[in-house]
Amino acid sequence: MTNAAAFSGGGVSDLGPSREGFLLPAFDEEAGEFWDGANEGELRVQACASCGRLRHPPRPMCPICHSTDRTWKAMSGRGTIWSYVVPHPPLLTPYSELAPYNVIVVELEEEPNIRFVGNLVTGPEGSIDEIDPHSIEIGEPVQVVFKRFERADGSEEHLPFWIRSKA
């Protein structure tokens, strides 16, 4: 199922969790290009088509020049860890079964004020609990990977995860 189909009614659409029970994003019509990019292996950030300013999360208007013309720019996928936490139960299943795990905030190399919440893993198949969270350091360089999730109806989504980079 493509994201475009999910947006046909406009507004926000929750297609349900993954087969394992992981929450998947409820798509809003503003963010379709991001998730389409994720499914194609590209990290895209919304930009103002008039003044070029990057913005995230996506929204209809540029707060600087008030243009509603918007476009998407492909990022390098490189960034650094801005902060991280280590959640412990009580949590929702299946997250509780993996706790303690890491959640990180990454700031992008191209524009440090554009930040993404994600998880540090060892590769696109990785689990959120596989890296010792106490080995994580603020400022570590990371690189995006896209992890595939499948819903009970067979539809799939790719979410941005992060691996340690040597660069």
Binding site: L23, H88, L98, Y101, L159
Partner: protein, 391 residues
């Protein structure tokens, strides 16, 4: 008579007063419904003020309040209601609902305004367990990655704060133990009989590292209300008036509620915007504040708020908590003198408002001698609000 308004000051300055307060028992579970608790506590607040509930003509609460104005009005026997409002963003609303009540009275839209919050958060569900609510924007950008709860969101800011300023768990502990020591003086507090040492704090289980159990507020059933009338009328009522000297709300540029990671400077939260207006409309400065009730759903919010409201400079809050500086009878700025959300009750911060009133009536169980001014703040990390009360 209240002091004359200074040129250029806000129209509401000292124009209104909190004339009545009330609260239910606080417990992990109360049997009555939220609606019953709300109606009972509003009637009790009117009784405290010496005003018949039929005189109430303004109702102000939170968008998260489950009992709507029409239910309140037909239960407590209101006549004609001519002002009603709700404020969003959960714990950020608390001082705002009182501020809206004050504005309604000060501008002649109503004469007797009630603000309230009734919540069974102790026995009811944890909001974060509702995934249908969670996955709306901005949750779509955070929840799938296991950032599920408010504590995870605030822990993320906390870790960064520690990294930038060298704050440690000892500083968070300073907040937790100060507030607990105040609860230990307050028989109405859920933690009245439970003391907490630094060792107790350090031994507590993690909830979301770097935050442990004792960095988190309680989960409470309870309800609170207050009654706002004109300053002139308040002087003729049963209780000593507590004047609403200054009020502000704050929503800074490009803010995202709870997950303020998407702007230039995430550690400059709504408190800073709120404080600028609050102090601009006030005759007082932070150094004039005798006692403060600072929203404490999580201990780091107190550090962020101390900086935002100007009690110290950016990055200096950790040091400001040292040497028992937040403790009653010891420090320069006693905070959350009834035990706050951490140790008295968590009812979206409304207990902080009532405690601010008690301090200025001189009836707190941790009474700051001669207190003339009290700052009360609502939740930091969300669009927020604050009140500067004086007697």
């Amino acid at each position: 008579m209240s002091p004359p308004a200074a040129p250029g000051s806000a129209a509401i300055k000292d124009a209104t007063a909190i004339a009545g307060i009330a609260q239910t028992e606080f417990a992990k579970r109360l049997d009555p419904s939220e609606a019953e608790l709300a109606c009972s506590v509003i009637v009790a607040a009117c009784e405290d003020a010496g005003i018949d509930p039929s005189e109430v003509d303004a109702l102000c609460s939170y968008t998260m309040e489950a009992t709507e104005e029409v239910e309140i009005a037909r239960n407590i026997g209101c006549g004609e209601i001519t002002f009603f409002s709700q404020i969003g963003y959960g714990g950020g609303a608390g001082c705002g609902v009182v501020g809206h009540a004050a504005m309604a009275v000060a501008t002649g839209q109503a004469e007797v305004a009630v603000a309230w919050r009734s919540r069974k958060r102790g026995s009811g569900p944890r909001p974060w367990t509702s995934t249908s609510v969670q996955l709306k924007v901005p949750g779509a950008w955070t929840r799938p990655f296991g950032m599920l709860r408010p504590v995870d969101e605030i822990a993320m800011l906390t870790r960064r704060y520690m990294h930038e300023y060298g704050a440690t768990r000892d500083h968070l502990c300073n907040v937790a133990t100060a507030v607990r020591s105040h609860a230990n003086r307050n028989p109405a507090a859920l933690m009245f009989e439970k003391t907490m040492s630094r060792d107790d704090y350090m031994a507590a289980r993690w909830v979301s590292e770097p935050l442990c159990l004792f960095d988190n507020c309680l989960e409470t059933d309870g309800a609170l209300a207050c009654v706002v009338v004109s300053a002139e009328r308040a002087r003729d009522l049963r209780q000593p008036p507590v004047y609403i000297h200054s009020f502000a709300q704050g929503l800074p540029p490009e803010h995202q509620t709870m997950v303020n990671f998407f702007n230039d400077d995430p550690l400059i939260g709504p408190a800073w915007a709120c404080a600028r207006r609050l102090w601009a409309n006030s005759d007082f400065r932070p150094e004039d504040v005798d006692v403060a009730q600072i929203y404490d759903a999580f201990t780091p919010l107190v550090l962020l708020s101390l900086e935002g409201y100007g009690f110290c400079k950016r990055g200096e809050a950790p040091g400001f908590t040292e040497n028992a500086n937040l403790e009653w009878g010891k420090g320069q700025l006693p905070v959350n003198t009834s035990g706050g959300g951490l140790s008295e009750a968590y009812v979206h911060g409304f207990n902080l408002i009532n405690e601010g009133v008690r301090q200025l009536r001189g009836t707190s169980t941790a009474q700051v001698e001669g207190a003339e001014t009290c700052l009360v703040t609502a939740g930091e990390g969300v669009p927020t609000s604050a009140l500067l009360l004086r007697r």
